[in-house]
């Protein structure tokens, strides 16, 4: 059995697919701590422009929407993401036609689930992301999403806050989008950065907490629903869920 290890980039994944697609019981993964099964052969994949280009071209020819779907699947925060994408690709190649309507095929269902988790989380963070005003007028928003969605939510905030310099920081993946009202770049960062806050910041956070408390109907508790819609792991960066004050 072959184990293809990729460096986590999309290009490297497509390079691996070139061989893995027909290599029936292989595994493709970018996980660093992957446990090798007995008798497995390790193949470290180096990105090959030509192979990855050919795979892309083939997929595009079969289904124009497939590349986007696969790019979404590869953003999943779970170790099996490459295998989900691979199974979906194999089905595409086997049918030589779009397969997203085959709603009772396991590979399609898995792929749909993965895509839904990624786009769903991106949608949620257009709401759950929280900015703080820095002393220098730059708004800073740290978050730690399950999936790699920084550049999926970015266009939304670039449109909405076009005149506001901001930083959106994925602290788990240690990268941040930096925007100065003209250009936007994504850069690698440390897990923690220290930001000096503006003198108004605490005041507005307090008003927000007051609002959050007042708008709640205390006689009608439904914590389960709240946590279902807004999972506890997201609370870390939301002022209304910090119990100081």
């Amino acid at each position: 059995m072959n184990i293809y290890i990729t460096d986590g980039t999309t290009d490297c994944f497509y390079t691996a697919v070139f061989a893995a697609c027909t290599d029936r019981d292989c595994i493709v993964t970018s996980a660093k701590d992957f446990q090798l099964p007995l008798g497995a052969r390790l193949v470290e994949v180096a990105t090959d422009e030509e192979k990855c280009g050919r795979v892309r071209k083939k997929l595009r020819a079969i289904d124009g929407g497939a590349l986007r779907e696969i790019s979404l699947i590869l953003r999943r925060g779970c170790a099996e993401r490459e295998m989900l994408a691979l199974r979906y690709i194999r089905l595409l190649i086997e049918k030589n036609a779009p397969v997203r309507g085959m709603l009772s095929h396991p590979a399609v269902l898995e792929a749909r689930d993965a895509i839904k988790k990624v786009t769903g989380e991106a949608h949620n963070f257009t709401g759950f992301l929280r900015f703080m005003e820095g002393e220098n007028g730059v708004f800073y928003a740290p978050f730690s999403p399950d999936n790699d969605i920084l550049d999926l939510i970015l266009p939304h905030f670039l449109r909405r806050l076009a005149n506001q310099p901001f930083v959106i920081h994925d602290v788990t993946r240690r990268k941040a989008a930096l925007y100065n009202t003209r250009d936007c770049v994504i850069a690698d960062t440390d897990e923690r950065v220290s930001v000096a806050l503006s003198e108004y910041e605490q005041g507005f956070q307090n008003l927000w907490k007051e609002y959050y408390r007042s708008v709640n109907i205390a006689q009608r508790p439904h914590e389960k629903q709240m946590k279902g819609y807004m999972p506890v792991r997201y609370w870390k960066f939301m002022p209304e869920k910090q119990d100081t004050n």
Binding site: L103, S104, G120, F128, E133, W208, S214, R220, Q225
Partner: protein, 457 residues
């Protein structure tokens, strides 16, 4: 800057307005401005009561000249009073918006002074917010009945949505419980705004002003007065048709105020929930109010209204999942718009069996009694058994509703889970379901055009 104390008073008075949806408006950010409105609506937080926070819901003032019996802010009530200035509201909206706490503003007010002076201050607030503060996010304005038409129409050019709450489903009840209001005073601005919007839509000119891009909504209190569900649904249907309303919200009456004219018992969340289900059927499933309940009837408690309809029409079932037209799939209890849409899509590739439906995560507990898959039937075969099974299943749902409601003290209106899910639905659902829903909206308008009745408006 507004202080925490007034914020508290003005928010606590506003929070019972059910409408939380910020969807339905696409407004682009202008150069030099802040914000835009996303057509899908976004939830920014959830409170411990399970509701979504999307908008900053606040009153400009809770000092009221009116005396609606059921309202905690009525003139006679002894409660702390406060008001905010237009600038205070604008500053707070902008500060919250920049931090991504909210999607926009939901501005409402008690009748502080006269309707005109109140509406003037509200108008001043929204104009400032748009022009001085350059805000392009979502604004919902709750209109003040009896205010001058010119004020109302100007406001409509600056905000995304307006609402006038009908509150009580008949003129008689309104007279009794809200003596300064009349049905006409609420319906008149709704009718005029709907006409204004229609007229503008027909206008050819390119540079038209914006006019309520997210339309109008309204709210009714259920159970403060004796009207039956059938009558409430007919009124809703007539308003959907005549005023092109985007939503009708229902809120179960809860006694906050003791008065001999008011019931001392709540209508209960189950009734509210059933009305929302019926409303859903009218908007997305092609049902008419007449099909759902007789004019003087209430919706059954035992099952949801779609089940109830199907049980009355057992002669139409079972339907074959691989052949039934979309409209019929939608009428199968337990199959939603998304489910129906999935079935129609998947059956193009292969005939669907019972297991395939399960794999597609279509819940079959109820549906199995009403469908066949490739000619095979998996449900109970006599109507009495089906009824008993469905009633049993609905019991769980009822208990949940009742336990929700067993908290101490006054319990006030809240949108049901379905409501929230409309606002918070993820991208995927939006795609598929929205498409499915659009088609049914079309279908049902076509059907309705034939049977259009004038309603009692």
């Amino acid at each position: 800057m507004i202080d925490a104390e007034r914020l508290k008073i003005l928010t606590e008075s506003a929070k019972y307005d059910v409408s939380c949806s910020s969807s339905g408006s696409a407004r682009a950010n202008r150069k030099g401005g802040i914000g835009n409105a996303a057509p899908a609506g976004i939830c920014h937080s959830f409170t411990p009561d399970g509701r979504c926070i999307s908008l900053l819901k606040i009153l400009l003032s809770n000092k009221c000249a009116y005396n609606c019996l059921y309202c905690p802010n009525r003139a006679e009530a002894d409660v702390p009073r406060a008001s905010a200035t237009p600038d205070e509201i604008c500053e707070l909206t902008i500060a919250f918006y920049k931090r991504n706490y909210i999607e926009g503003l939901f501005l409402s007010s008690a009748v502080d002074g006269s309707p005109d002076s109140t509406m003037e201050r509200m108008l001043e607030t929204v104009i400032k917010l748009r022009k001085v503060y350059n805000f392009n996010g979502y604004i919902h304005l709750k209109g003040i009945p009896k205010a001058d038409r010119l004020l109302t129409f100007r406001a409509a050019q600056y905000v995304d949505r307006m609402s006038y709450n009908v509150e009580l489903p008949s003129e008689h009840s309104l007279k009794l419980l809200a003596p300064q209001k009349s049905k006409e005073s609420v319906l008149l601005p709704m009718r005029e705004l709907a006409a204004g919007k229609r007229a503008l839509a027909e206008e050819k000119s390119k540079k038209k002003p914006r006019f309520l891009p997210a339309g109008q909504t309204t709210q009714m209190i259920v159970g403060a007065s004796p009207e039956a569900d059938g009558q409430i649904l007919r009124l809703s249907q007539a308003m959907y048709r005549k005023f092109s309303l985007k939503r009708v919200y229902f809120s179960a009456y809860i006694p906050v105020v003791k008065h001999s004219l008011l019931p001392d018992k709540t209508a209960g969340l189950l009734r509210e929930h059933r009305l929302y289900q019926a409303d859903w059927l009218m908007r997305f499933y092609g049902f008419s109010a007449e099909e759902i309940a007789g004019e003087g009837d209430n919706l059954p408690e035992e099952y949801d209204p779609k089940c109830a309809w199907a049980l009355r029409h057992m002669e139409l079932f079972p339907v074959e999942i691989n052949r039934a037209p979309l409209e019929m799939l939608l009428r199968v209890p337990g199959i939603g718009t998304l489910g129906a849409y999935k079935i129609v899509r998947a059956r193009k590739f292969a005939a669907l069996g019972f297991d395939d439906l399960a794999k597609m995560r279509i819940v079959l507990k109820r549906a199995k009694h009403f469908i066949t898959c490739g000619g095979k039937f998996y449900g109970a075969d006599n109507a009495a058994t089906v009824k008993a099974l469905l009633a049993l299943e609905a019991r769980g749902e009822r208990y949940e509703q009742l336990s929700l409601f067993s908290g101490e003290g006054a319990v006030l209106p809240m949108p049901d889970a379905q409501e929230n899910s409309e606002v918070r639905s993820g991208t995927e659902k939006r795609g598929a379901e929205a498409r499915a829903q659009e088609r049914f909206a079309l279908l049902s308008t076509a059907a309705n055009a034939e049977s259009a009745r004038t309603g009692q408006l």
